[in-house]
Symmetry: D2
């Protein structure tokens, strides 16, 4: 017995849309019906001369088509509320490019709307679907590195200075969604401080540093930068038993798991400074680089979207994960505006009454 | 006509002292007379079975010997005031391992004492004597990268958890002394914020992040970490014309100078956000890795100590440079104690009256 | 006035064919008409559910279609003679995956047939269309590294053990076509020696080393290996003035041009050994990594195929370039069979009479 | 009860001698008595102004001193026979820098002389005493990588063009002594072919490639080069179960042990080509980088010299190991002179009668 495929429309033919088009076409159980962009010529150009997929310049037309069961939104963040809400109201499942919306409040409206209608709302946190993050998730949440001690992420590049958002909102959603994906449930961000600078006069921060306080006392740090001539994408997750270094630009050895670290030796000492040397010991063990089953992350993400619709379950990166990222970003922006003070991170899973109603 | 060599005593036979011993012996114009340590057996062991240099367990004996004209101090920072002051009062020139002293106030006492007696007081900021920093100094101060936009330094390693100081006081003096050495006179730290954590319960910060505000609006960041299983020592100095990446662990290509970056195009636009794309342009030019004339930095440092004594001039890394580092470290510690708020950095070149008197 | 696009059929839907399909669709002036494979289901699967391109299981059908002006062949080398000859006889221009044919004699038949009919015969030596090789070509042929002193290429990987050819025939065509593309006209291979081994009992060499003697006395070496757990793709081109290192797995710095080397100083000495030190000097200058204008090489290659047809000129990697590679490969195989003796490399540009007639 | 230390004289104060001096001084059970060089001023300069070790310009004086029980020879290879023979005849144990002698015949004389007198004759094959080679030795000889399939060593650098030997004799002894040290007893070189070139007109090969046939069918390859602007020191040892990559310039990860490779599947097939795919399978497992206990290799080597004398046993790198290297080098030189043909490698452990008598 064959199942009717999920009819999909991709909304937005800019930077990211073509990737969604390509991967939707390769996803079993999915049927790409439209690529929709206000600039229909741009949509036509993306589809090319050999495609049977329809280009459309009208969101209304697309949402009115009963062959469309779901939409994948790759428009600017400022438009997410309007586009995604229209899709939800038309009864369509929604996949939305990060960040979920321009503000936490807008994101909460979308989560509430999807809940009310029983529709899937999923975030395209692509990195969470890489083999590296999936391995990290099992390792870290599964206790393989012991107690999490610190996280450090660097994501710098000669990047496109965005016209609408600063470097934090542009790049940090990647790091934050990865943190949220791999950390155990009892290690969550509770406060964040941000420092930024705009040395080229772009009108927004082009270099920024985020420091997060996590429950349990660990610290996480994120460095994002649009101005670096070299590209770095590394994340270190330090644990009491092991420490992992993820270098995403080293395809032959993305993950390196070190049995190396500093341990505090339990002693009945009174902890005065002079005795510190005696109560610290060093491990210098082997390093293991696990074999990863590399596949295109976007392909895996699209398959999860299809599966979550078919199975009527929440996807791995659901609306709440999008709210959690927004919650940190808003706190970070507030910190930036106030000179770097730590700002509390709200738990967005507790939606305000009027929204969740 | 031959000149009498400078008689030197090295004080402290611990981690760093043996390096000073080795390099002092190879420095023309210098004559190593003593290695002095409270534990005279440790001094004897460092000197080995084949040396004509004297081991001594008594600082008094060493300072009383008229053959000793200068001392090089490699004892814990907490003892610097006492040891260096005794040496200065005995009329000896002083080279002191970083940091200058345990507090800014103590450092100021030493600077004042050296001034009163017309003696050389020099900091062993070793990195400032590497070929890389000397090249950077000429490049950055000479305008070769244009206006300084940002600095970013990472110094992480599985390092010795110090019994007396936190990771900031242990490692950041390197980064700070390098910043001060290469930055133009009109780009100086005015405020600093620090975040740190102690995930192993060592009793002091083992991971820390420093953010410095510089005059002119640029930001500098320093990441120091004792717990990392891998070693990283990189510094990026971003400029309006060029950006330099210094990777000290890549001996074949320590410095990479990129003609790559983001420029703000001058326009008569009104700067509204929608026009940002139009007023930013990207350079993607060649990279040059200059040939460096590598020599052991400690050798060059020791030669500078000898030359500054002989020529009666201030050394490149004089007492004031030591005070400037202490001034930033104290502000950073204050920020750490107060949850990460920015703290002003005092200009230590203006010594308080009672000290400079 | 618009020109009629070149109608193309891709023959072969295996490993390489899909890449040709994708790039042909994106090439201006070209119109992809068919993907042809004996296994028509495989062709359909490659085209996917959204394509307007026709799948065909019949080469005859495709060649009989007047809308097809050219074919791109990505079938096993053993079939190249038959497929390409059929296409040429049907009056189609031909692009063929490397190597041109299974033997030099077969390749010569194809070159002669294309000449007789005035059709384009082009080799898909993809690497020759990378920005790196194009830069190298200008640099080396243009005299930028001085006199060529040596070449060294390493291409090792955990690769697919081919069922029909050894590692030399599988991988060395890349290195050889690159050598031929970048070397000046007066530096050509005149003899080749090959060593190989089959440590896994695959029935053919899985590890091999090629040594080429070039006119002018320089030596070139190629190391190809299917069994290496790590991937290396580097080429060094040593010259009297500069030396270039190409590391194709380092996208941020593929080419490094060193002003570093050993020079023989002219002297009126008699050259006896004891004086050698005196007549050699060392340069240790800067390194420059030129900015490369990276594009997909296959796109550039396909554009060259279209342009050579439109303009009626020989393409950069024409049939002769394919013969030159075959000529070296045959000599290498002969050397391998004879224990590693140097074998002369025939100049295939002088086609035998009966072939070129 | 304390043992009398072994009195040592280092002969030769050139490039390598100072390293021997430094390490001899740090070796327990050894007492450095002399540094001897025809140019006694050079010896004095090496010892420096603070040493109690005697400089001497007379080998006779040194060998006549009963306090000298052993000598370490770091003079040019052409002088090894004369210097080492004089030492042996004076009853001194001998450590000699590689290669053992200028020819195999000379080396055989030294081995025979040491045997006759029951004296230690040891080669300073320094690499064999690194933690990396010691790990490799246990791993490879212990069966940890399965059956050895191939070896590949690259040792290239901008190196000193030697006045007396070509690049093979200068650099390949390192690779060959490492091979001999780590290979199982039943995998030994039986024939060697060499290709070389002298593109700068130095009068001797500056670039060379060695191919060795090993018993059991495996192949080893060595690439040595004085003209490379970049430094590479890697060795790959491929095995049926695992493959090791040793990158000596990556101190944080010198050894990488890959559970990755190509296996021939046992089958009852008849091995015809068309079935090859089916009978080959691929492993893509994890990689392990073992923690190495890094110490200065020369220190370990010197301790082995002392221990072999004290214990009256053969050292790890004894005279026979030196003969085996010479035997390969002589065969390689013969191959080079004859255009690259394979030349048999003699087993030097079977000394000719007149020599061993």
């Amino acid at each position: 017995m064959s199942r009717t495929p999920i009819g999909l429309a991709v909304i937005g033919a800019g930077y990211w849309g073509p990737n969604l088009v390509r991967n939707a076409q390769a996803t079993p159980g999915m049927r790409l019906e439209y690529l929709c962009d206000l600039d229909v010529e741009r949509a036509r150009k993306v589809l090319g001369a050999y495609s049977t997929v329809r280009a459309s310049g009208s969101l209304e037309e697309v949402l009115a088509d009963p062959a469309v069961h779901a939409v994948a939104i790759a428009t600017p963040a400022a438009t997410h509320l309007q586009v995604a809400m229209a899709a939800l109201e038309a009864g369509k499942h929604v996949l939305v490019e990060k960040p979920l919306a321009a503000t936490l409040a807008e994101g909460q409206q979308l989560v509430a709307a999807a809940r009310r209608r029983g529709l899937t709302l999923m975030l395209d946190h692509t990195y969470c679907y890489t083999a590296a993050v999936q391995h990290l998730r099992e390792l870290v949440r599964g206790g393989g590195i012991g107690k999490v001690q610190y996280l450090d992420s660097v994501r710098i590049n000669l990047g496109l200075v965005q016209p609408d958002v600063d470097v934090l909102w542009d790049l940090a959603p990647h790091d934050l969604s990865i943190f949220l994906s791999i950390l155990p449930d009892d290690v969550t961000p509770i406060a964040v401080a941000a420092h930024g600078s705009d040395p080229i006069g772009a009108g927004r921060a082009c270099v920024a540093h985020l420091t997060l306080q996590l429950t349990g006392g660990a610290m996480a740090h994120v460095h994002v930068n649009w101005l670096s001539p070299t590209k770095i994408r590394t994340m270190v997750i330090g644990g009491s038993a092991r420490t992992v270094v993820w270098d995403d630009l080293q395809p032959a050895q993305r993950l390196s798991i070190y049995d190396r670290g500093v341990d505090r030796t339990d002693s009945n000492g009174n902890g005065d400074d002079a005795r510190t040397r005696a109560i610290v010991s060093y491990r210098t063990g082997d390093m293991v680089a696990p074999a990863l089953n590399e596949k295109e992350a976007l392909r895996t993400m699209m398959a999860e979207f299809a599966a979550s619709i078919t199975e009527g379950r929440a996807p791995l990166t659901d609306g709440i994960s999008g709210l959690r990222v927004l919650s940190i970003l808003e706190a970070a922006s507030a910190s930036l505006a106030q000179g770097g003070a730590f700002m509390p991170v709200l738990d967005p899973s507790e939606l305000p009454e009027e929204v969740s109603a």
